[in-house]
Point group: C2
């Protein structure tokens, strides 16, 4: 199985969700991308369908938006 | 590890998310609760902190709200 990608932006909700996701699916199965620190990944995230963070892009291309997170506009702003 | 609980209400977004979650964490590690069919569970879900569905209640008590789902008010309505 290829890795899922967990997109976040460093907010407390994101960090909490990151820990939960890593615990649930295992850190070997998920790549963590911090969009605040690696802004070059924002475009890729948007193309993949990420509308808010935190979000989990599964290996089959689905996006699970988690919690009532920050909008992509907030991440860019 | 005790099981996580995936709450949903049968909407297309819920079913898609359910498949993703089961694929990610394994069906042995998650209990699926359909709040539309098992309305007695709505109160438990709310007490656990579920504000919208689909949502994943992790074994450590955190609630991951997934996608832009239906509000609990909609599930009750």
């Amino acid at each position: 199985m290829s890795k899922s990608i967990f997109y976040h932006a460093g907010c407390p909700v994101c960090i909490s969700a990151e820990h939960d996701i890593v615990n649930l699916i295992g850190e070997d199965n998920v790549k963590i991308v911090h969009l605040g620190e690696d802004r070059s990944q924002i475009k890729n995230a948007e193309i993949a369908g990420v509308q808010s963070v935190p979000a989990l892009l599964t290996s089959n291309g689905n996006v699970l938006h988690i919690n009532f997170g920050a909008s992509m506009a907030d991440v860019k702003g």
